[in-house]
């Protein structure tokens, strides 16, 4: 008996479980947040004092890092579903460490920009860059906190299949934040 849909309850929406509804709705909220940031960016872009920021090439490396993290999480999900503990562990480690790598790289990119004199308050393009990357970074950090909790829980157990739902959701969150990053990166590159 699936504990999230016991025989005494009305079936939920679209056969999703509680955690899935929670996370998907959360992702909707995150989408709106970045939509508004983009909106404000595009609005402000049209004013005279806008000077586009050169995009540090380090960001390409960071993007690749996040892609690898997503692949890792996908691997972990498959491993959990097939009860393969090794794959789960490797996948989780790749997912977590490359996310941290991404965060470090983002921070390093900030340092590069500051060293080149692109300070936050000088120009709205600069401010938006720092603000949007900070927001995204904060959401990745939140994900890392969830990653720590889930990794700890599924490390010790022999039967990892019971954790597959959680790992799968975490992976979804990873993929989604990668998608958000790609869109923001695209925004920076194209303007």
């Amino acid at each position: 008996m699936d504990k999230h849909n016991p025989i005494n309850s009305e079936p939920g929406i679209l056969n999703l479980n509680h955690a899935q509804v929670f996370v998907y709705m959360l992702l909707a909220v995150v989408t709106i947040l970045f939509l508004f940031l983009t909106n404000a960016y595009v609005f402000r872009m049209n004013f005279e004092d806008w000077q586009p920021l050169p995009v540090p090439s380090l960001l390409w490396v960071n993007t690749c890092s996040l892609v690898v993290a997503s692949i890792g999480m996908g691997w972990a999900t498959r491993g959990a579903k097939k009860n393969n503990q090794t794959n789960l562990k490797i996948g989780l480690l790749i997912g977590g460490f490359f996310a941290l790598f991404f965060l470090t790289g983002q921070f390093w990119a900030w340092q590069q920009l500051i060293a080149y004199g692109y300070l936050l308050a000088d120009n709205p393009a600069n401010t938006f860059f720092y603000l949007i990357t900070a927001m995204h970074g904060l959401h990745i950090s939140g994900g890392v906190v969830a990653w720590i909790v889930i990794t700890k829980k599924s490390w010790k157990t022999d039967s990892v299949e019971s954790h597959s739902a959680q790992v799968s959701l975490l992976a979804t969150y990873w993929h989604y934040l990668l998608l958000i990053w790609v869109m923001m990166f695209g925004l920076f590159l194209s303007t």
């Binding site: 479980n17 509680h18 509804v21 909220v29 709106i32 508004f36 709205p124």
Partner: protein, 576 residues
């Protein structure tokens, strides 16, 4: 560590110790009480601030300490506290938390731990906001709308001090709390309904709270983004919203920003926000009017579709707050049309409530009195909205007392009347005792008639052109002395109404301790929260067996039954 009993598949937290039981409780009923108490407490503060404002308007010069600076601080904090920290928190955090699991036949919210966190983060946001009263510059006096550039500059109280910052940080923290709570409500409504509780058998108040939560989750991010950007402008001297400014004899270090951008962000949030407050009020009325008139709600399906329409359209009306803000004038056509369109589903809801009274069997209980008063005052508030929504009519009326009268009627008077009705109605479920009826009626009459006398005349000085947010009218010839007399009258009414709220407070506390003991279902309601094994419901709500639902929540006056109501969990075979 907590023990999680898989009570028929639903996680229920068993609290350990006093802290786990009463402070960091994960039981939705306790959390609801916590939200209610904090919201009412901060709401009392908001009411006190409004009394200060009224003293200045009614009896200028009586209190030396109310100068222009402190007046605007009172105005701002009163507005923000009432809208966000009282009404939003109380309707969703208070009523939502209490009713959703009970009315759906669930043991608790889907994520009790996150629910607990959401209260404590809300509490933190209240603390941060309150802290702004104690900093040197005092709280912000920028108007609850916090428009830049003035809100972060000297010349507005708190603009160049910590006042505005604490406000913005508090809002950001509130939004985080709301998001946590809101995700919980959505998940619970979609996933945790008892068997037989299809979506179209949910009580209307659940639909209302569900849709209001949805609105909030999608609208609050706009405020969040605006608040962060305004904080940047203030602290880091960026120019999201700050154009070139010449002030205090010099050109400031800002440039290129757009004040109108803030307004778009603010009102994209701000308009859905008023529906976040109105929708739960609508829900309370639907439940109360049906139960106390002993008649099924009229047109349940249309009520649901009207709610969905209102929720959807509410996202595309925001710029009716900006008709004269200097945005592209052609936008006025679009927003006036959408705004007047949203009047139609709202009117349908009013008709359906009223038609519920037709051929009913109306008991004039205190909750019913509040329902009827809601209808009258919501009519006034809603109809005056039609003036303001019509773009050209808004030109002479915008930023006058017509607006103040309108939004108080439709956001303060009618939802608060609904709220009070809800408190009287559900008090027996929460405490097992009845609120005193006589005190209830006294409180009702003073509040209903008093608030009507306060806000109705304001529309007419709005027609005259008396602007809002004015510390004093004395300098203006076009404002006759009779307006000062009216202000005096309104202030006296306000003081009386304000004082009478303590009747409710007394009734609350006194009845909770030694009120008349209530039977399990004193009002004879069909909805599930009254069908628990014991009332007040125990931890886990339903004992060993979750309820099963066989019918919609409005089988009052069902033909063929001897009783005048049939609860949702009674199957056809068991109807007497």
């Amino acid at each position: 560590m907590e023990q999680n009993a898989a009570y028929e598949g639903q996680q229920v937290y068993h609290p350990k110790g006093w802290w786990g039981h009463y402070v960091f409780s994960q039981d939705h009923k306790i959390i609801a009480l916590q939200y209610t108490c904090v919201a009412l407490a901060i709401g009392l503060t908001g009411m006190f601030l409004s009394m200060m404002m009224r003293m200045q308007l009614g009896f200028p010069g009586l209190f030396d300490s109310i100068d222009a600076g402190s007046y605007y601080q009172d105005v701002t904090m009163h507005g923000m506290i009432m809208v966000i920290y009282l009404l939003t928190a109380l309707f969703l955090g208070g009523f939502g938390n209490y009713l959703i699991p009970l009315m759906l036949g669930s043991r608790d919210m889907a994520f009790p731990f996150v629910n607990m966190l959401s209260f404590w983060v809300y509490f933190l946001s209240v603390i941060i906001l309150s802290a702004s009263f104690f900093v040197p510059s005092g709280p912000t006096g920028a108007g609850w709308t916090l428009y830049p550039p003035q809100s972060i500059l000297e010349g507005t109280p708190g603009g160049d001090g910590a006042g505005i910052l604490l406000m913005l940080i508090s809002l950001a923290v509130f939004i985080i709390a709301f998001t946590m709570g809101g995700l919980n409500y959505i998940t619970t409504v979609l996933q945790s309904r008892a068997r037989g509780m299809k979506m179209m058998r949910m009580p209307l108040i659940i639909w209302c709270i569900f849709l209001a939560t949805f609105l909030g989750l999608l609208a609050f991010p706009a405020l969040f983004v605006g608040a962060i950007m305004l904080t940047f402008d203030r602290v880091l001297e960026t120019s999201f919203f700050m154009p070139e400014i010449f002030k205090g004899g010099e050109v400031l270090d800002y440039g290129g920003g757009s004040p109108v951008l803030f307004q778009h962000l603010f009102w994209f949030f701000g308009h859905p926000e008023v529906y976040i407050i109105a929708l739960p009020a609508f829900g309370i009325i639907s439940e109360l009017i049906s139960c106390h008139a002993r008649k099924n709600i009229f047109g349940y399906n249309m009520m649901v579709w009207a709610l969905v329409a209102i929720a959807g359209i509410s996202f595309i009306v925001w710029a009716h707050h900006m008709y004269v803000a200097g945005m592209n004038p052609y936008l006025g056509f679009f927003f006036a049309t959408t705004t007047l369109i949203i009047a139609v589903p709202t009117a349908i809801k009013v008709y359906n409530w009223v038609l519920t009274l037709w051929h009913a069997n109306i008991k004039m209980t205190v909750p019913m009195l509040y329902c009827l008063a809601f209808l009258i005052t919501f009519l006034i508030g809603g109809l005056t909205g039609l003036f303001l929504g019509n773009v050209s009519v808004d030109v002479p009326l915008s930023d006058t007392y017509f607006v103040v009268g309108h939004f108080h009627m439709v956001m303060a008077v009618s939802p608060v009347l609904a709220l009070y009705g809800g408190l009287y109605h559900w008090f027996p479920s929460v405490t097992g005792r009845m609120l005193d009826d006589r005190l209830g009626k006294i409180h009702f009459w003073i509040t209903f008639v008093g608030t009507y006398l306060i806000y109705f005349p304001m529309h007419y000085i709005g027609f005259l052109g008396v602007p809002r947010r004015y510390y004093s009218n004395q300098q203006y010839d076009f404002i006759p002395d009779s307006v000062a007399d009216l202000n005096q009258f309104i202030t006296i009414c306000a003081l009386i109404v304000g004082a009478s709220q303590f009747i409710l407070l007394y009734n609350f506390v006194n009845s909770a301790i030694r009120g008349k003991k209530a039977s399990k279902n004193p009002w004879g309601a069909c909805t599930l929260e009254w069908q628990t094994l014991e009332s007040p419901p125990g931890h886990g709500n339903w004992g060993d067996q979750l309820p099963v639902v066989y019918r919609w929540p409005y089988d009052y006056g069902l033909p063929g039954a001897t009783a005048d109501f049939v609860p949702q969990n009674v199957p056809d075979e068991q109807i007497t």
